[in-house]
């Protein structure tokens, strides 16, 4: 698997560290406990396209959002998590 980093170009997956599902959002501090349980523990875990965070540890140290098919490992898009550059 190779990931096309918007800053560094296409690099092997061993340069990156995986965090997980990029669709979860930290709830408001006053949100009910159920919202926090949902945020910390529950995941859609889809078989198909999955937006996910990768950290380019051996490159630009950028956080990326990669949309990847979990059934085939095919990568559809890569952008920086801050929403700037897109590969």
């Amino acid at each position: 698997m190779r990931i096309h980093c918007p800053y560094c170009g296409t690099r092997g997956v061993e340069e990156f560290t995986y965090l997980g599902d990029a669709t979860v959002r930290r709830p408001d501090p006053d949100a009910p406990e159920a919202a926090w349980v949902d945020y910390v523990y529950l995941r859609d875990n889809p078989a198909g396209p999955h937006p996910e965070y990768w950290y380019h540890a051996a490159g630009c140290h950028g956080w990326l959002v990669v949309v990847r098919d979990t059934r085939t490992h095919e990568i559809f898009s890569v952008r920086t998590a801050s929403g700037g550059a897109e590969a």
């Binding site: 061993e14 910390v40 523990y41």
Partner: protein, 419 residues
Amino acid sequence: MSSDRYSFLSVLREALRGQTGWKPAWRKADPQESYDVVIVGGGGHGLATAYYLARRYGIRRVAVVEKSWLGNGNIGRNTTIVRSNYLLAGNVPFYECSMKLWEGLEQDINYNAMVSQRGVLNLFHNDGQRNAYTRRGNAMRLHGVDAQLLDAAAVRRKLPFLDFDNARFPIQGGLLQQRGGTVRHDAVAWGYARAADRLGVDIIENCEVTGMRITDGRVEGVETTRGFIGAKKVGLACAGNSSRVAALAGLRLPIESHVLQAFVTEGLKPFIDCVVTFGAGHFYISQSDKGGLVFGGDIDGYNSYAQRGNMPVVEDVCEGGMALMPRIGRVRMLRQWGGLMDMSMDGSPIIDRTPVDQLYLNAGWCYGGFKATPASGLCFAHLLARDEPHPVATAYRLDRFARGAVIDEKGMGAQPNLH
């Protein structure tokens, strides 16, 4: 007379009659209209559940539905290791229950599963690890589980060819569970299937669940590629596909699916007589009865349903192997494969009711499901039959995450790829 029961006499009789009397190990059952219990997933855990439901709890109107062929999932994709060397109180009694069931399994199901208690040795390489393993061994012994702390000299007598004086990771000793070992993984699926079939359980292969029929918050059966099957109770034992199947009932689980690779080499003369794990990396190895070295390491670390992994982890696992036992460097790899792990948020499994009435969940086995097969089946059967957790599985509740009662052996927090 048929050779229904496997024995020395049946082997002898069949030898004299040209092997014509053997029956298929299980029937190719067609789905009936309804059952008392439908188990989704014909892997080790599902088949064991069906067997114990019929054998110990007297519930025989049971179907196991499997989307593929029997044993295509993790029961045929693991490294065959069984052990009960856990630390936490929620885990030890459960895995020891499993160990005891392994010890009596072959007599119980009348099937040769090649249970081999050759010992599981976890090596340590520094003082901190020695302390951690001493603590683990003591916790095991307090629970009545066997554990033995070996010093470097004792390990050297057992496995003289390890790289003891490795400059970075010298081997200082190991924690040995002699009752641990390996079991022929496919035979576990086949043996449970055959034993459950003999008790009247229908095993329905190539039958994928495509939906759940739920009325007023209560499950009434499953929609499948072979039509609707009614059920008073439905039990999910879908391993890496747990989230997908649970989603059919509108549930979201504290689980991510990850891929774990395993490897086997060409056959060699016997030289590793136990299971050995490297403490300074993630590498475990044993030698199969055919002579191949069976080994594995970390999960790849990203969500996957692909049943195949990537090269960096292959490299990492092989580096671990070379650091531990350099003599395997010239051995050729024969096969490599991947399986889908239902990685839970605390690294421990779930055997519990769900918010949907009469729908039960058995999931979250991470990459340790094989050793748990018998106890998982027994405890899930107990839950399905009695509607209460089995005494050794009381900690495996679905709501433990919300309650803050997680069972985190590694202390990694809610990050599934680190467990």
